[in-house]
Symmetry: C2
Subunit: 458 residues, 2 copies
């Protein structure tokens, strides 16, 4: 099948000093050659690859722009095909005009993610690496960036390939036995196999467990600030916000996506969840059991239960809080619950010692707010350290879960001495699901689903 | 004076496939070298100029991004200094992070237009060419783009330099005479000088006259649609709008700058001016003389006087319209006034023939709307053809005007046989003002004023 040559504006939309257009496909060079005139090149076919040529984009006699043009020769290019990149003045007219001219000469508009899709189809990267490209572009914090970068560089793929190849080896032995089943030969070492399955399940479950963290790091770690009215929840948030802004906020154009209460602390973005529901009519902690607020708490990764330490004793608040959790049947398992005793500046008695569970501060006086940030960071860092590799993609975690299920069935079948061909089916299923992550196995629907979420030009 | 090495993100702000950062100055290469690691380069100092190197931007051990990096060696670069361009993934985090790392290694943030200002200061382009760079980036129509491109390529500068050098030759002769004034020598041919002045004044006045057109092409040609209520002004605008949209409208992010009624017709943008004032309480054309509406008409370059041809006779409307203009003391000199007889589909009598002054159409039935567009285009094209070079910059036109004034004074002084040293002062003044256009003469204030309007990264 002959592929179209695709073209797109690859830089962000808008007026700027520079914009870059990208062409990829068999005809990339010949299409660009029809528009590009350089004093130092008779034909673009003679261009030295990876060299930036200064020249003109012309429409007949009319000069459209002075540009820098680079040819990347297949397979040493992003897509693995011939690629041409044109850096022009970032005028809207010029960008659009050059794109139109490329179309006129035979290029077709690139679909979202089509350059990266081609890179995958041409074996330049596997599917999970391709997905990481989109995550890298979307990353707005060091933590999210690091996970995506690690994945793009193949850290995750390498582990999956290792797991898959071990399972594949074993599956081959098993299939061989099936071929010779009449003769009752045993090629596969049963004990070794069971231990392999256990190892694999353990490794995959570690990956699955990392998803909760990977996902929140990618999207901002949700923190619910809960508590009675007037205990200083908003003051606390403001005290945090005033000191540090998200790293991206100095770039114009990001504001539209930024909600008011995203906080960058160290390498992570924390996303504070509004629990305003607790304020309405709720006078005491016993009354605060509004389902809506608890729903939000359940979506959070971290819960800051704030109380007025000058009015309520810590142990009383902790008891009340547990009672409500029990009464409402709310489990905070896997979440980090920190009690925050606010208004310590108003305490008549000496401020109690901080413990692992409780921290005392004064949001208004900005006392010990730094300690709270350290606690949040420490918690995420500890979680992070528990995982060498972090999965941040729902598709991946679902495939891992299916693969684990299949392996558990295989194990059970073994233990119950079920026929080998049934076991083989489970193993093949586990292999299949692992293969969908890296794209050894894929379908047009999966690809459409993945690359459709990319930006144009990538 | 040692110049700082400056850095900026040169592509439009936002998430995208690619973003480009730019560094310029003595230390551009050494700064980039501290962050860039490429398997194919020991040191960036060894980089082949204009070659795109694939490599990594690192912060210590941490991989920030895989990038393409190009070194442009002075003086063969945009600024005339050493320039490094880094094309990275268009993640907000990565863009900002790399910029921060460049700062950490000694770069300073580039001010608006500073790259182009350096190009000017290093003799890569003159001042009017530098100004054209900003116009090119801001251009949103073919017409505006063409004027700016012609100016950036030096068409305007070349003419100015020719004029200035002729005047300079003559001024030298005149100054020589002053030196030898005791001896009553005449080096300069008076007659030739007067003819030179006349020629120069004529050429400069042609340029000045082109400004009105150049300015409206740059900013969109203002068209006022005037007329009584219910003659179909909005229907006419919609009929025009439905068929063609401004070329830039397919680029997301431009909408914020686009007002509802900008129309791209052929290579030009037309900017329709709201004359809603005419609708309020005005029942007949005699009553429509609302000052506000006339003020808007005076700002327009083209006036479409719309009437209902099924109800009002053309000659009657034309007479009424002139009467009102006379009564309100409004001059439409230099403007293009076209009478548009709408609703020709409702006419019982045969539709009259179009003339140079009147066009009949039906906005509702979209009949002959195309003819109106042709008329608008024809008018601008004819104006355009009258000017080889078009000035689109107020600063330039003001300098030309001052230069013309000085030459006229010189001429008068000559004719009145005033002393040569007075004439020399006028000639020097004319030379001075011409020199400010191309920047042979400039001041920090002028430069600040010009480049402060650029975007960052250019």
């Amino acid at each position: 099948m002959k592929q179209d040559t695709i073209a797109a504006i690859a830089t962000a939309p808008g007026e700027a000093a520079i914009a870059v257009l990208r062409l990829s496909g068999e005809k990339a060079v010949s299409i660009a050659d029809k528009l590009f005139v350089s004093p130092r090149l008779k034909s673009l076919q003679d261009a030295v690859a990876y060299h930036q040529y200064f020249g003109e984009i012309r429409e007949g006699d009319a000069l459209i722009d002075e540009v820098l043009l680079t040819v990347f020769k297949a397979p040493r290019s992003y897509t693995g095909e011939d690629v041409v990149e044109i850096a022009c003045h970032g005028s809207l007219y010029i960008q659009e005009k050059i794109l139109q001219l490329l179309m006129r000469e035979g290029a077709v508009p690139a679909k979202a993610g089509e350059f990266t899709q081609r890179a995958y189809l041409n074996g330049k990267m596997d599917l999970s690496q391709a997905e990481a490209v989109a995550d890298i572009i979307a990353s707005r914090s060091k933590g999210a960036h690091r996970i995506a970068m690690n994945q793009m560089r193949g850290g995750f793929s390498a582990l999956l390939k290792k797991l898959r190849s071990r399972l594949l080896d074993f599956a081959s032995l098993l299939e061989l036995e099936l071929d010779f089943s009449e003769e009752d030969v045993e090629f596969a070492d049963r004990k070794q196999f069971l231990s392999l399955i256990d190892q694999m399940i353990a490794e995959m479950e570690r990956l699955i467990a990392s998803f909760s963290l990977g996902n929140v790091i990618k999207n901002g770690i949700p923190v619910a600030i809960v508590g009675e009215p007037n205990v200083g929840k908003s003051t606390l948030l403001n005290a945090l916000l005033n000191e540090e802004r998200a790293i991206v906020s100095s770039i114009p154009g990001t504001t539209r996506d930024t909600v008011e209460d995203i906080l960058q602390i160290g390498p992570y973005q924390f996303r504070f969840i509004d629990t305003a529901g607790l304020r309405q009519g709720a006078q005491t902690i016993e009354e605060m059991g509004i389902k809506r607020a608890f729903g939000k708490m359940e979506k959070a990764h971290i819960i800051l239960a704030v109380f007025d330490s000058s009015k309520t004793s810590t142990s009383q608040f902790q008891t009340d809080f547990s009672d409500i959790l029990a009464r409402e049947d709310i489990s905070l398992e896997g979440k980090y619950l920190l009690f925050v005793g606010n208004k310590k500046d108003l305490l008549n008695a000496p401020v109690p010692q901080d413990t692992g569970e409780v921290l005392y501060l004064s949001a208004k006086e900005k006392e010990a707010v730094e300690n709270l940030k350290d606690r949040l960071l420490d918690f995420v860092r500890k979680e992070n350290a528990a995982h060498q590799l972090i999965v941040n993609n729902l598709r991946h975690v679902e495939a891992l879960q299916k693969s684990v299920e299949a392996l558990q069935q295989a194990k059970e079948a073994f233990e119950n001495a079920l026929p080998e061909d049934l076991i083989a089916v489970d193993i093949r299923s586990a292999l299949y699901h692992l293969g969908t992550i890296t794209g050894e196995i894929s379908s047009p629907e999966i690809l459409q689903n993945i690359f459709g979420k990319f930006c144009i030009g990538k």
